[in-house]
Point group: C2
Amino acid sequence: MNEGRNHKVSGASHSRCDQCDIRHKAMCAAVDTADNDRLAAIVSHRDIPAGQVIFEEGDTADYVYNISAGEVRLYKLLPDGRRQITGFLREGDFLGLVTDDAYAYGAEAINKVELCCMRLSNLERLVADIPPVRDRLLDMSRDELAAAQEQMLLLGRKTAREKLLSFLLTRLDHAEDHPEEATVHLPMSRTDIADYLGLTIETVSRTFTALREEGLIELPDAHAVHFPDVKAVRDAAAAM
Amino acid sequence: MNEGRNHKVSGASHSRCDQCDIRHKAMCAAVDTADNDRLAAIVSHRDIPAGQVIFEEGDTADYVYNISAGEVRLYKLLPDGRRQITGFLREGDFLGLVTDDAYAYGAEAINKVELCCMRLSNLERLVADIPPVRDRLLDMSRDELAAAQEQMLLLGRKTAREKLLSFLLTRLDHAEDHPEEATVHLPMSRTDIADYLGLTIETVSRTFTALREEGLIELPDAHAVHFPDVKAVRDAAAAM
DNA sequence: GCGGCACATTGATGTGGCTCAACGTCGCGC
DNA sequence: GCGCGACGTTGAGCCACATCAATGTGCCGC
């Protein structure tokens, strides 16, 4: 794990934004070094233990966040408890889509998460004063929108096998340079994967087994997937 | 149909943006009246006949558009032809999500469409010079993202019946003030609806029939749905 | 008015993924 | 090291929706 340097707890201000490990990935990259102090003055930090709720859909949105470490699941619920995970976030990602002063989705920590927090009102002022931040946010939401559309295609039109392969390959792309073989780490549970792909845990499990029996993947443990031949997997997933 | 005033064909510049019917709904609302001439100088217009492709996914994105009349379907395709419609657009909506200089989806006219066109490079300059435009675009993409997440919930976790009811109610909300009863117009085909909801045309048709037999809706023709009792429909769809 | 075509509906049958249930497996507290 | 609970896998049967096929229905050109 890539250890961050900002471990101060909630309320701690004036952190060293200029030393932030994930600065270049986050919204903050758009803040000029000259404005760094200003940024540092309005951010605080929060540590969230694994499994804990960060906020729920519909909560009044006072704060927005950047993730400095760990992974987060975003989800929407139906009244009867059915859940759709709309995305997984990782370090550098922006957290806190707001419509009508409320969060548009719930968010939970998958593993131990460190957040960089900012009052929404402060962000709005920052955005107003530093135009590149707005550009950066616009770019990020453009990418997110493209990903959302891709996910709609997956949910509406792909088979279980295609869904799982697409998911694994997306994870692979996000991860490393891909040589002949590669391993991806899946911090989330089978239930999370199922709720992300619009399947049940049983189907996810069975599909993992089927892919293993085909020799496309290896499963050292429930949270790791090894690809002995990345190209073969991409070919198998060609119809995606 | 709300007749627009800008009927000039492609290439016509210096249109009267200040007289545009849908100005207040579109991105252009963020352009001050003082800058109207500047806006008018960079837009042109295009008429698209019903059914025609506006652009395809992956096309190099030179232009972006505002829809001044008509309705548009956005879609993504799998290599074998399976299609997912990711959204329907109407007058006032912004058209042309771009990633890596290419359109992120295909777009086709459902009925006769009038577009207000702008070179991407001109939009970028406009955005740079007129900050409120950026805000407006950010707001619009925030809303679109929230809608996309809602659609993921629908695609991944709702039944056919719930999908169709959600779809109809969303259409109703977009349309008018809703008194006791109401009618929504569906310009798109059953195939379009199916590809939007992740179903087949047969299932869409059967579900329409089932709702009609329950007395929740009436179907004067294939492109209109009447709700004799809006509240009853909302109650029936409560589990959404 | 009538043939032809696109689109929608309806029916019969098939099946992918869900449901229900049992059984592993791992990690943790005591 | 042992019991327990959370999580994952596997199996058997079922069902919501897909597929395949036939039959309306409305519209347009002639």
